[in-house]
Amino acid sequence: MAIKYLHKYPKGKNARTLWVLKPMWVTLKKMFKTTFHRPVTIMYPYEKEWIPDNYRGRPGLKFDECVGCGICERMCPPAGIKMIKTDDDAGKTVLRPQVNLGRCMMCGYCAEYCPTNAMIVTPDYELAAYTREELIYGPRKLAWPNHTKMMEVDIEEHLMSDLNKGILNRTVAFYNIDKPELVTEKCIGCTRCVKVCPTDVIEMYTVGENDKGKPIRLPKFELDKCVCCELCVEECPKDALWIKEVL
């Protein structure tokens, strides 16, 4: 590495003198420059650097837009998010994320993967606290009142099929196109998926009667509102549901 800057070092007959004098000249020049202009130091507590609108500080939460799907909990790389039960404004018990900022590495994946953009990245980076308990931010504490459009982060990708067809400018989010599919033969009609669905898009409907005269019920998906959270897939006792990935 020193070889890289070798041409900058003094050579020749006066090399030894220059090795002593040249750094003196450089430091003197630097001193005058930094005395009449300002040094590179930013006086941090008194002045702060400009940060962009989508700066990835601690995660924030729009409480009312969150559907409690738990994607953020599963996507969080250091496992810092936990879904907890809490009361919303109407007094109903709902699931909302709780972030342990002692674990958070500010990657912003929770905001990227959030299907409703309820999870946002905030410009808040001054997070020091005296105890570890103070670093666990509940759903209400995660709120960031003056959030802007830029704080919402979307993850969108090109589809291979689109690229093969020559469509280069279309990007889609996986939660808009990947949808659950039902294997009708396996379904036993237990309605667990209906209970677990955070967006209430699953309805049970009757398709006929069995040998004993009981109705055969199957889930029906209203796919426009589905956010592809896979909770129904995980909950299904007979593995009758799967996510059809659009490629």
């Binding site: 003196m24 430091t27 630097k30 001193m31 930094t34 130091t41």
Partner: protein
Amino acid sequence: MLDGLLNWVSFSNPMDNPFYAYGDVYNLPYDIGYKIWELIGGTLAWLLNLLFPDNGVSSFLVSDAVMNALAIVLMAVVIFAVAFIINLTMIWEERKVLGRMMDRRATRIGPLGYFQNLSDGLKTFLKENIMPAKADKMGYMWALSIVIGSSVLIACMIPLSDRWFIVDYGTGLLIIFALFAIAPFTILVAGWAQNNKYSLIGGMRAAAQLISYEVPMLIVFASVALMAGSFNINEIVHAQAETMWYILPLFLGFVVFMVAAIAEAERIPFDLPEAEAELVEGWQTEYSGMKWGLIMLGDYFRGYVACALGAIMFLGGWMLPGIGAGPVPELVFLLKVFLLFFIFIWVRAAHCRVRTDQILNIGWKILLPLSVINLIIVILIKMTGDMPWDMVIGLIPWDSIRGVIPWQ
């Protein structure tokens, strides 16, 4: 006597005191100490006289002998306090200038960051005081005491002007140099006593460094003394005021002195005994808490002494050419000291640490011949007797310059 007691704020002239030790030479710190004791002791005596009229203690407190004794004690305090404040200012200067040379801001506590030293001292004071179990207690503590004590002693012995001194030694330069050279030897003892490999290597390096720079430095001292015809600091300064600053004829000696002084003060290009990157903190590794703080303070005292000697020997001390002492000669002297210390800081910012073999090469192969050449120049000047700069001085219209200066 009662009149004397009631007029306790009279601020009498200390030179009227029969015990005044400096003859007919005015001594400012003695005067300050004398007047402080006139305030304190005079107040005490006045109050006691109010309570118990015509008692013996009151007249004892303001008698000539007691006044003189306590004035000397207070004078010592004043001189140390001033040297200490100079030292703090130099540390502050180093921090600020070094910061700018490194493209950063420096300390910011207090006005212009001046109080950073005080907070550092407080922090060091609160640290735990540890002594290694297998250290040689005697050598450990005595070496520390001698390093700090000799550094502070010579810093207090530096006269700031012909009125700010403790004793006007006939051999002032020699005594200061002798005390200056004690510390590197005790560093070797300290390195040995700590029972630590880093300390021992640091102490050995101090010894290796000592033999390489002491000889050229002593020759430069000798050449300056020969030039001035005296070892007395006052006479050296006045000799320069009569002719010219010795930096011009003895520029070679000045360069040799600065290099050797940096080595003597153990500052960056020659801080082999400390070398915090290689040896943890060198010979200071096992000194913790305020012991280390005092060592650092002593280091800067030695830096101050080195700069002050440079100002005395080469920059004309507290005199300015053509002007003389001026109204505040102490300030002139300190400005020169800070200027020389700026060169120390500049070298520190520019250069990296030399190796042990390199400093031996520099000392024996470069500095020693240069100092001998310097001595030869002095001898030639003294032999011819005709100062080569007399002609140059004759061209400058000193009388017209003196005419516009009010205090001459």
